[in-house]
Symmetry: C2
Subunit: 227 residues, 2 copies
DNA sequence: GACATAACCGGACTGTAGTCCAGAACGGTC
DNA sequence: GACCGTTCTGGACTACAGTCCGGTTATGTC
């Protein structure tokens, strides 16, 4: 539970009521600690790439990085934390686009204000692609410890974003609760299983179908279907 | 992976294309094996009730049952398998109602043929209640081993059922893929997290909102909403 | 540059899931 | 009731995640 809070990582924190960027705590990090952090991340990335995320033990990573196990766990908490650190960079990109990038993902558009329905659909699709692209790593970050998915800051970020869009698209509904439902099929565990059984395109299409049914196609909003 | 297939357990198997009841393999079970199975299940149930599912180790169960660890794993495969065996009874009840019980859950109605939309909503609600009632145990059965949820026969049963109803309610869509999406927010891991953060009623209401948006209210089918 | 203090380091240690296999127990046969 | 192939048993064994703490090293101060 005691986590690394010193390093220049974990880019975003979520303000209670709105999405806010916030560089994490003052970059006070001892030089040896910094050296080790880099060594660990490099070693982990290499071992994961070589042997597959599932077959790499924390001992092996510590050994490859030339670092003790204690150091490894002190900095990253657990296996999930290590995965989060490795994903941080790429995740940040997506987060930045969502916060301040061009439509449909972000809020920036030349004409009028962006449509929350389209933004939601675009977000779900983009996020699903992100998870699929780093499936094993994300899966580890979500399942290494029970309940990990819902504890990490990133999930709260995605949840908040989803809830804000839902609140705009479906006023009157319980956006916070609905957002969890929308995010459920985007868990790495779920996508992993579905993709293995069917294939990615069908899974993505089905998710889009469900989201579209929930919020509708676009502003013209003619319900969703008419049987 | 090598599983117990002898005992009178695991009530249903799923035929490739339709829902079929099928008592499992011939009840050929050696008397010592039967004795031990009962002892293990009884010991597990008691320890779980006393100390909480999370805090009971397989060693402890084996010891309490007066049985070796090897026996425990041979019969139940892993922790998830043990949970499945314990849930079997209650799950079977729900399955039976769905297969041959009264509407809205089952297909039996006095008037005309049952409406798949209502049946789907009823099923989702009933299943969610079932999971919530045995949250820790179901959670263990789904998360003890990675991907466990999607391997156990029960999931395939629920998935098949959901897919059949979806195929009737939304012809033209990819029912198999959509069924996975519908089941995603019903995972124990997900419900556990959401219930801890909000509460059960909001979670249930949100799930119902989403399902209703997907299939509509009833046969009268006037789309879902019109902004 | 010596000192004090806080932060960090690493490997021995613990607890648990899951494997393995030599031998015991079963149950059918003559 | 003795024999035999099959199935089951149980505890020693491995591998891994995660904890703990005495010793070490960086950094700010005089």
């Amino acid at each position: 539970m005691s986590f690394d809070t010193t390093g220049p990582r974990s880019g975003y924190a979520i303000h209670e009521t709105s999405l806010v960027t916030l560089r994490s705590s003052p970059p006070k990090e001892r030089s040896d600690a910094a050296r080790n952090r880099v060594a660990v991340l490099a070693a982990a990335a290499e071992l994961f790439a070589r042997d597959g995320v599932e077959h790499v033990s924390m001992d092996a990573i510590a050994a490859a990085a030339g670092v003790g196990k204690g150091t490894l766990f002190r900095r990253f908490g657990d296996k999930a934390g290590l995965a989060v650190a490795l994903l941080d960079e790429r995740e940040r990109e997506l987060q930045e686009t969502i916060l301040s990038g061009p439509a449909p993902l972000g809020p920036v558009t030349s004409t009028d204000k962006p449509d929350p329905r389209e933004r939601l659909r675009a977000f779900v699709d983009a996020y699903a692609h992100y998870v699929l692209a780093h499936l094993d790593l994300v899966r580890m970050s979500e399942t290494a410890a029970p309940g990990a998915r819902y504890r990490i800051g990133a999930y709260r970020f995605w949840h908040r974003h989803t809830a804000l869009l839902l609140a705009a698209a479906r006023p009157g509904d319980d956006a916070d609760a609905l957002a969890h439902v929308v995010l459920a099929p985007l868990s790495a565990e779920h996508l992993h299983a579905v993709v293995a059984e069917q294939d990615a395109d069908r899974a993505l299409a089905a998710i889009d179908t469900a989201v579209t049914a929930l919020v509708g196609e676009d502003v013209g909003g003619k319900g969703t279907r008419g049987s």
